[in-house]
């Protein structure tokens, strides 16, 4: 469904992504893992249109979206929960979710989506009127994921959902991601937490300084010596 071919991204004169090709099929969970600065976040930002690429192409459901504006990509069904949660701190949980469905004109459907999110994250329902900036880290992450689900996207781009969370919460978040995937949403996941990410993923790519060095099935990579040495600590 999502095909990236020979993608280059530059920040100024520094090339962050060097000719990367990635394919995501319908219904899959695909993980991108790699060290800090490998370019994981940049790839997600380029897919959602927040960063501009300098070479290569992106095809989504058969259409070339390389030059499409970020807002149009959301409309096409690509939803991005950006790194570091990025909720709107001065707005209530409810308003944050409403903004997630900003592109939808259908008020009734928005309400239904909010209920769906509250069903998935009961904690958010309790905090409906609270300012998002006053939520705990885990709750903010739930809100960021919930907000990204508001438009019922075809593909969800998740950027380090486990960042800064307690191990128990990480487990919870990963379970939710699994649920979201089994209800039909394709997921492209970027993670530092390699073991969790690989266990969840159907397929995965390993990145190093802007290049793909390894790819394959999640469980295979989990067992591979190279990955174990580099990311899983022996």
């Amino acid at each position: 469904m999502l095909v990236i071919e020979q993608m280059d991204v530059h920040y100024g004169i520094i090339q962050a992504i060097k000719g990367i090709s990635i394919t995501v099929n319908y219904g899959e969970v695909v993980s991108l893992i790699g060290a800090n600065g490998a370019g994981k976040t940049t790839i997600l930002r380029t897919i959602s249109g927040l960063a501009k690429q300098s070479g290569g192409s992106i095809t989504f459901e058969g259409d070339d979206i390389t030059k499409m504006a970020a807002s149009k990509r959301v409309e096409a069904g690509i939803s991005h929960a950006p790194e570091g949660r990025r909720v709107f701190p001065g707005m209530s949980v409810y308003e944050n979710l409403e903004l997630g469905a900003y592109l939808s004109k259908d008020k009734a459907k928005t309400k239904k989506s909010i209920e769906m999110v509250f069903g998935k994250f009961p904690r958010l329902a309790q905090r409906e009127k609270q300012m998002a900036g006053t939520l705990s880290g885990g709750e903010q992450q739930m809100l960021a994921i919930g907000r990204a689900l508001m438009l019922d996207p075809k593909i969800l781009l998740l950027d380090e959902p486990s960042m800064g969370l307690a191990p128990l919460l990480v487990k919870e978040i990963f379970n939710t991601i699994k649920e979201i995937n089994s209800s039909g949403t394709t997921i492209l996941l970027v993670e530092q937490n390699a073991s969790q990410a690989l266990a969840l993923a159907d397929r995965a790519y390993v990145l190093e300084t802007g290049k793909i060095v390894l790819s394959g099935k999640g469980e295979e990579l989990l067992k591979s010596d190279e990955v174990r040495k580099a990311y899983l600590g022996g």
Partner: protein, 325 residues
Amino acid sequence: MDVPRTVFTKRNLVWLAVCLSIYFLVFFLRSYGILGNYHEITIAQICINIMLAVSLNLIVGFTGQFSLGHAGFMSIGAYATSLALRSRPDTIGFLIGITIGSVLALVVGVIIGIPTLRLRGDYLGIATLGMAEIIRVVFLNLKITNGAAGLMGTFRAANWTWLYLLTVMAVLAINNFVNSSHGRACISIREDETASEAMGVNTTAYKIIAFAFGAFFAGAAGGLYSSYFYFIKPDLFGFLKSIDMLVIVVLGGLGSITGTIISAILLSLLTTILQDFSSVRMIVYSVILVIIMLFRPQGLMGTVEISHVIDKFARKDKEDANTVS
């Protein structure tokens, strides 16, 4: 969040009544001579400052785009109105001038906004400052605007009715914009531009819309100014004028229309009162600003509106009534 869709709700009727009573109160006080010309000048200043500050708040407070060039848009409206009143010194000339001036300010806002709104924070502030200076220098050098001497003896078409009507219209328009889904999009840009873009908000478009909309009402305020105070010159619309407006907005609370109105009234009154003590005027004014910023850094109202406060009390009353029964 359930805003009734009909126009004649209880709330709207109450606001209409409040607006009308303020109008007639001032009107009668004027005709009985309790408020003299001197007072009317202060009132005019208040109305114009409210328009300028509320429209600047849309840009700085709600959309979060730091602008130091609001005086530039004001001057466009002021010159257009002055020139129109020159060729047709009556109310119709005034209305034509103020319309052309506001639309022109809006167009300039769009033209300037497209390249500069890609900048963020301080950089945008400096770019808008430069833009206002360019506008000022253009007026300084054009023949039709009479250079540094400015335009004098403009026909006074603006009176209390026009001042009040246009101010109420500007506040109403901006308030409705802010509370619409478009306004929500603007606020989301202030809260987090990246996240807002990831939600599918066309951030560039909304920044330009807010900028142009703010410029439009600044132009209208400039039109009122030129027609009420007879006299305009390029110096009036310099850097300090933009700072004045920014002070009102920051003092009232970034993102609160109520706060902006309150602080516009307070600061205008303060300026008038201190006029008699000209030697210490700037000191007292500055000290008051410093004190308020120390004790209320979020501004007088923060992001709270008077309607929120009323809603809260109404809800509390209802809850109290429920617990009693």
